[in-house]
Every structure is written in C-alpha cells, then in structure tokens.
C-alpha cells in the first residue's frame, strides 16, 4: 500500500461502487445460488426444494461418468500444459535469437491468440471429419484412426485442437519473459559456457521460472474452463462421454439434464480445485523460484 493516501469518505466509495455492484449482483448472488442448489434437492412433485445435505455431492461423485470425466480432465490438463508450454517456449527462444525478420515471425505466431476456442473447434471439426478431413484420412491411413469409436483417437483429436489454440499465448508470455532477462547475465554466461544447449538449461531456463510458473497456471485454467467451447464443437463428449471435461459435464447435466442440484455440487467441487491450485501457487511454488 502507498505511504501517502487520501481519505475522503464519499470519493473512496464512489470509485469502488460500480465494480462492487456488478460483482455482488452477477458473481456473489450466483455463487450463493450455487450453494443453495447444491445442498437442496427438488421434491418428487416439483413444488419446491428441500435441504438434502451432501446428497448431491455423493450422488455426482459416485457416478462412474463423473470419475471418467475427472480422469479425462487431468490427462487433458497435463497434455495441453506440457505441449503448449514446450512448443511455445521453443518458438519464443528462436524468435528471441533470430537476427532477421523478428517482427514478422512474431506477428505470424501471435495472431492465433485472438481466435475463439469455439472457432478453433469448428475448424478442427473439418480436419477431423470422416468425409472431408485431411488429418482424419492421414491418421486413418497410418493406424486406422477413427475418433467416432476409439477413445484414444478421440483424445488425440481434442488434444490437437486445444493445444494448437494455446501455443500462441505461451509464445507471447515466454517471449516477453526472455526479453526481461538482463543482457549482462547472458553475456557473462557465454564466457563460462560454450554450449548453447547447456547454457539454456542452466542459465536461461531457471531465470524463466516465474514466467513458466505463471503459464502453467494459465494453461491449467484454460484446459479446465475455456476448452468447453472446443469440446462442444468437436466431439461433444463422444465416444460415449469419454471426452467430457468436468466443466462440460456440469454444463450438460445442468442445462440438458436439468439437474441443477448435481450441477451445483459439481461446480462447488471445481471451485475447491481452483482454490487448492491458487493456494498451491502462492504458498508452495512461489518461494522456490529465482527472480531476476
């Protein structure tokens, strides 16, 4: 906080009021509603809801499809984070080292950031359709790829679409991170170590840890929430619900299945997961990385 501050009763509330109002009405009210939904169940005649404790939680979590969605979400998060981080980092390091044409490469690698997940999904749909799909027929000729029936082929389909979309975001942040590293450190390390490869892993990469760490959180959030648009425009959970993420499942159960109690319980479980990740971020990892 600042050493010198204002204290003006009216102004201080005036400035914070608009955002506070929007947040209270459109964020806290729905959250309260989520808790009400999660701890109540509709009675048999549809007249009202009665308190049912943790029934909705037990009911949703003991469901086999929930555990499958949980498993898929974990794999999904790991794959997307690993591949989009690695490819983004590789390209950012090259773009940082290139002497000619830097700004062209930068622009050409940044723009897919602006494309909506749902648009990426619809696009991927064409590349993986049985009739028109270039990638479908390519993979089909190699190992008989068929995502309509095979679970792992469906995984590959969603992984490719979701990772492709996230490469640019990783590229932007890694490039910016590389540019904040002081030239003098790199120059000093060039005297001590000739090998580009070793210098990268022992000097540059540790200095990039804050960026990497930030991006891991960004990628986890992306894989968790933003990919709903991709799933809904690609496999829609096919084959037989194997590619449903937790968020997609909660949405389907709530809006299509009209089971708001279960959807509410699932949302609260996810809020807890996000909370754990955030606390982990601040308490555990932040103390262990090097800052310039």
């Amino acid at each position: 906080m600042k050493k010198v501050q204002f204290s003006s009763y009216f102004t201080q509330y005036f400035f914070v009021a608009p955002q506070l109002a929007i947040i209270l009405i459109f964020l806290y009210l729905p959250i309260v509603q989520t808790f009400t939904d999660a701890f109540t169940t509709q009675d048999a005649f549809g007249f009202g809801r009665y308190f049912s404790g943790f029934d909705n939680f037990i009911f949703s979590m003991s469901d086999a499809t929930y555990l499958r969605a949980f498993k898929f979400t974990i794999i999904f998060i790991c794959v997307i984070t690993f591949f989009s981080c690695s490819i983004g980092l590789l390209l950012a390091v090259q773009a940082n080292n290139v002497i000619h044409g830097k700004s062209y490469y930068k622009t050409l690698l940044i723009w897919p950031y602006a494309i909506a997940p749902a648009v990426v999904g619809v696009t991927a749909n064409y590349f993986f359709s049985e009739r028109l799909g270039i990638l479908y027929s390519f993979f089909h000729n190699i190992w008989g790829f068929n995502w309509y029936d095979n679970i792992y082929d469906a995984y590959i389909y969603v992984f490719i679409a979701a990772t492709w979309k996230q490469i640019s975001a990783n590229f932007i942040f890694f490039l910016a991170g590389l540019q904040t590293i002081q030239k003098s450190i790199i120059e000093a390390s060039m005297i001590d170590c000739k090998s580009n490869f070793r210098r990268f892993w022992t000097i540059t990469f540790p200095l990039l840890m804050p960026t990497t760490f930030f991006l891991i959180i960004i990628n986890i959030t992306y894989a968790f929430f933003d990919t709903l648009g991709i799933i809904d425009t690609t496999t829609i959970g096919a084959p037989s619900g194997e590619t449903k993420t937790l968020v997609f499942k909660a949405y389907i159960d709530g809006f299509r299945g009209l089971d708001i109690g279960s959807a509410g319980a699932q949302s609260i479980i996810m809020m807890l997961i996000v909370l754990v990740i955030t606390v982990f971020q601040f308490r555990f990892i932040e103390g262990r990385i090097h800052y310039n």
Binding site: P30, V122, L228
Partner: protein, 274 residues
C-alpha cells in the same frame, strides 16, 4: 561459420512454427473461395478458387437461422457490441476500483480487496446456471445488458491496474498534493494519463475475451436477434454448404485484426508491471 548455421536452424524452426499456425486457417480460407461441387467432389482445397465474392456476399447477406431473419453481418454487429461493451465497462470499473484499493486508507479497504479478488477463483463457466437464473429474474434475458454485465464481473483488470498503481512512485502523489490536487484531480490528470498503455492492453484483452465468448451467449439468447458470431457458429450451419468456411474466416477477422495491429500496446501493457 557456426553462427550462420545456427541462424539457419533458428529460421527453420520458426518457419515450421509459422506453418503450423497458418496452414490450417489457410486451407479453410482457400476452401471458402470454391463452389460447393468442388468441395464435395475433391475435398478441402489448398489453392484459391474463383467464388470469393459470391460466397462472402451470401454469408454476409443471406438470411438464415430458424426464423430466416438473421444474417452473419447482424451477428457480427452483435459480437462487436458485446465485446466493446464488456471491454469498456470492465476497464472503466477496474481502473476506478483499483484506485480506491491502492490510494485510499479506510477500514473497509481490506475486505473490499478480498471481495473483489476472490472472484478470480470463480470463472463464469462455474456459475453459469445460477447466473442465468439471476439474469432472468432481472428480466435481462435477450438484452445487450444481459450479455455484457455478467461478463464484466471480472477482477483480472483490477489486478493489473493495482499492480501498475503500486509501481507509480509515491513522490508523484506527494508533489500533486503539494500543488493542491484533490483525489479527483489526481486520478483524472495524473493517474489516467499515466495508465494509457495499461488501459489499451486491458481493453484489447477484454475485447478478445468478450468477442470469443461462446457459452454465455448460447444460453442467454433465445431470440436470434441477439445471436453473436461465435455462439451461432454451430447452430446456423445446418443448411449451409461451402459458406461455412467463409463464415469461419469472417468470424475470426475482428479480434485477429485487433491483436495484430495493437500487439505492441498489448504486450507492452501486460509486461510493464514486471
């Protein structure tokens, strides 16, 4: 000599990366310039065809949807209104509330800070059902207000503005106070002009975020008049052929242009807090 070789390698990797990003969209674009027959008989195309104007004209002006009354151009306008509304409202409210959080000393400052920042834990996807209930109770279903307000309840911009204000030297406020500036004058004449880059970056970020929303407009708009390009994508396709490719390309143009032309502001703003 080894330097030249390593530069070749750098270019090769970058070119492969660029191709990975550009080729899929190029194929969609190239296919969008052919006629239906070509696509159906020969699959998606790598080269350009001669139907560019016809296809894009049909998408922009041919009426579609269930009611046969909406066009892609009306959906583009809706998307723009939504994105612009979300970006403006979020930037304005965040700019202001971050000012209270950083520059005012009062009892409720800490609780208010936490009320705002806890929202980072609950993205719209997690509260989509109850948000719909709240918005429908307020009678905001099928309105632009209903499209914009719930998505503007975001603390990300507040977080960035707070970081930025904290990096502004204390001496600035001391000097301004000596000159007799009150809290309003300091905000409008000093802080807002200083935050220009950050404001631009946040605006671009929120514009792209708002434009690319899929789920919220999907459940919020039962009236086709309010359909946005991204949410209508799946539904409006049913009766179309090759126009779908043109539609995909059109839908990505506005945010892509914003990012390409304003990338300098965007990147500068996001990283000046570091």
């Amino acid at each position: 000599m080894s330097r030249t070789i390593s530069q070749y390698l750098v270019h090769i990797i970058l070119i492969v990366g660029v191709l990975l990003m550009v080729v899929p969209i190029w194929i969609i674009f190239a296919s969008s310039t052919h006629d239906n027959g070509t696509i159906l008989s020969q699959g998606m195309q790598w080269g350009l065809g001669d139907q560019f104007i016809e296809n894009y004209d049909r998408v922009l002006n041919q009426k579609g949807g269930f009611s046969q009354e909406i066009t892609a151009s009306s959906m583009l306008i809706n998307s723009f209104i939504m994105a612009f509304g979300i970006a403006t409202l979020t930037v304005l409210t965040s700019l202001m509330s971050a000012y209270t959080i950083v520059y005012f000393r009062f009892k409720l400052a800490v609780p208010i800070f936490w009320i705002i920042f806890l929202t980072l834990l609950v993205p719209l996807e997690l509260r989509i059902m109850p948000s719909y209930q709240v918005v429908s109770n307020l009678g905001l279903v099928n309105t632009y207000t209903g499209l914009i307000l719930p998505l503007s309840a975001s603390a990300i911009a507040t977080f960035f503005f707070r970081q930025f204000y904290k990096s502004v030297p204390d001496e600035l406020l001391e000097a301004a106070k000596l000159d007799g500036a009150n809290s309003w004058k300091f905000f409008i004449d000093f802080l807002v002009p200083l935050s220009k880059t950050m404001i631009a970056a946040m605006f671009i970020f929120m514009f792209v975020y708002g434009y690319n929303q899929y789920l919220w407009p999907l459940i919020m708009t039962t009236d086709e008049k309010y359909w946005t390009v991204v949410m209508g994508m799946k539904t409006i396709f049913m009766s179309w052929g090759v126009e779908r490719f043109s539609y995909i390309i059109l839908s990505m143009i506005p945010p892509v242009l914003v990012v390409i032309f304003l990338q300098r502001w965007f990147i500068q703003g996001l990283f000046q807090t570091k």
